[in-house]
């Protein structure tokens, strides 16, 4: 049974831009899919059509056989609880504390007045604390979000998505404004959490090497159409040219190869350091 199913999904913006052009996509349960493609290919639109932050022009979106595109607002909010979203530039509410940001992931579950007075159920608070511990932010709960570094903010963003107890993670350029090392830490954290919780995930990502490293499947989007769908290993220079256009991909690979080894080494060091901290 597919967890997520996009059927003939099309989005045309009022400006006339065709962002998605009859996209068909099946994601089975527990799979981590990387969505790659140049800027403006429709990656962000695709992810936002799934939880209807952007209304698709036509086509259907199904999550575990429930048709999201047919839901009325109340049911839509209900199903949004089951889809955690992680954003580019973190999208934390900067003037709220870390804890409030994490707990905002429970808004779909609690009533208005208890959220107004910030009286969340005990279980939610306990979950929030354990998630903060899991993403490595123990003791940070009362800091304001704008006092954190980029990597820390994205960890809060991950905790906010996970506290929803989602079936599906929608991840939009999670590493776009992070340095290479933090990027890999964040991607590793996301994929680890997905396998721990058997989450399905759709990850938009600019960085092809990162996509290769962490995804089980890669989908290439070009001008609103899927032009590649397969294993990360299948991303040959020809395929990349098809997705991104003409470029000396082998040269990029050659440059990348030696540093790749170094990065693996530094990653091992990182893991050791993190384990030491824990």
């Amino acid at each position: 049974m597919p967890s997520l199913f996009l059927e003939n999904l099309t989005k045309r913006y009022p400006t006339g831009d065709l962002a998605l052009d009859s996209v068909w996509l099946e994601v089975p349960e527990g799979q981590v899919v990387a969505l790659i493609g140049p800027s403006g290919a429709g990656k962000s639109t695709l992810i936002r059509c799934v939880n209807r932050l952007v209304e698709p022009t036509s086509g259907r979106v199904l999550l575990a056989d429930e048709e999201i595109t047919a839901l009325r607002p109340r049911r839509l909010r209900r199903i949004r609880r089951r889809m955690g979203m992680i954003f580019q530039e973190y999208a934390l509410v900067e003037r709220l504390t870390v804890m409030e940001n994490v707990l905002s992931g429970r808004l779909g579950y609690v009533g208005f007045w208890s959220s107004w007075f910030r009286r969340f159920p005990r279980d939610d608070i306990a979950t929030a604390f354990s998630l903060l511990e899991r993403v490595g932010l123990t003791g940070m709960e009362d800091k304001r979000a704008d006092a954190l570094s980029g990597g820390q903010r994205q960890r809060v963003g991950i905790a906010r998505a996970l506290i929803q107890d989602p079936d599906l993670l929608l991840v939009d350029e999670p590493t776009a404004s992070l340095d290479p090392k933090t990027s890999r830490q964040i991607m590793r954290l996301i994929t680890e959490l997905c396998s721990e919780r058997a989450l399905t995930a759709v990850v938009n990502i600019h960085d092809v090497p990162l996509a290769r490293m962490f995804a089980q499947r890669v989908v290439g989007l070009q001008a609103g159409k899927i032009v590649y769908d397969g294993l990360p290993d299948g991303l040959t220079p020809d395929v990349l040219t098809q997705i991104y256009g003409e470029e000396d991909w082998l040269a990029a690979d050659r440059e990348y190869a030696p540093t790749g080894n170094n990065l693996v080494k530094s990653e091992l060091q990182d893991q050791g350091r993190l384990a030491g901290e824990g």
């Binding site: 949004r80 999208a91 934390l92 509410v93 808004l107 959220s115």
Partner: protein, 270 residues
């Protein structure tokens, strides 16, 4: 080496004019010239009267001097307190009513019909000067501070709701989108995504409006809407210029102090 043609070209360089077409430029200059001539021509300045202004001003200000705080002291204090009550109530009421109107008047929050409705309330409140509105409320509710409170509340609507709505429209959409994606309800979304982002400005604007309302309360009193303005008007009517001078000095003093204080408060909030 530059060719002769080029050097001639560069020698003739002038900054490009603001308006490209020479014809439009001349036309605009002509219009402005004609307007200034016509405006001054119809100004009807009675120069003899203006020249007389010097001695008159002297006499006038000697009537002002020395300012007499003592003669009408209780009336002044009463007027000031009344202005203060009016200011506080009008600001509190105005802000309270403005908040929902501001939310309704922000394009990124409200649907189009609500948006137009709220924006037209703001426009209605901003079209007419406070004093004109005060004249009508005095006519409706009788002389005294009640009409003043209603006037100032109404005027606060146009100011506060408009600026707050613009603030709401200028929030970071990514943060709002993130909260929406959690499945939050509309009110929860306002509370978690919008409120934290506009709160400092909203408080700052309220303090600023408190300051403005006090100033305005000194003016609408002239048309009968209570407060220190009424006291001032009485003083002018009775030719008690020394008392009027005292009142003006007190108003200036309070306005300066209030502006300084509100400036400090708003600065702290940033």
């Amino acid at each position: 080496m530059a060719s002769p043609a080029l050097s001639q070209e560069t020698a003739r360089w002038r900054p490009p004019p603001l308006i490209k077409s020479r014809r439009v430029r001349c036309f605009l200059a002509l219009i402005v010239g004609l307007y200034v001539a016509a405006a001054f021509g119809t100004l009807d300045i009675n120069w003899a009267r203006v020249a007389d202004g010097g001695p008159r001003a002297l006499r006038f200000f000697s009537g002002f001097f020395p300012p007499d705080f003592a003669a009408r002291w209780t009336a002044i204090v009463d007027g000031l307190l009344e202005s203060l009550w009016m200011t506080i109530v009008a600001t509190a009421l105005g802000v309270l009513i403005s908040i929902p109107i501001a939310v309704g008047g922000a394009r990124n929050v409200a649907p189009l019909p609500v948006y137009f409705f709220c924006r037209s309330i703001m426009a209605a409140s901003r079209t007419f000067h406070e004093v004109l509105i005060a004249i009508f409320f005095v006519k409706l509710f009788g002389f005294g501070p009640f009409a003043g409170v209603i006037t100032l509340t109404f005027a606060t609507l146009g100011f506060y709701a408009k600026l707050l709505a613009e603030d709401i429209e200028a929030i970071d959409p990514a943060q709002a989108e993130a909260i929406k994606a959690t499945g939050a309800g509309w009110l929860q979304w306002l509370d978690f995504a919008i409120r934290p982002q506009v709160r400092p400005r909203a408080i700052g604007l309220a303090v600023y409006r408190l300051d403005i309302n006090f100033r305005e309360s000194a003016v609408i009193g002239i048309v009968g809407a209570g407060g220190i303005g009424a006291t001032l008007n009485t003083a002018f009517d009775r030719y008690e210029f020394d008392t009027a001078a005292a009142i003006l000095l007190i108003i200036i003093g309070i306005v300066m102090a209030a502006e300084y204080a509100s400036g400090v408060i708003r600065h702290r909030l940033q």
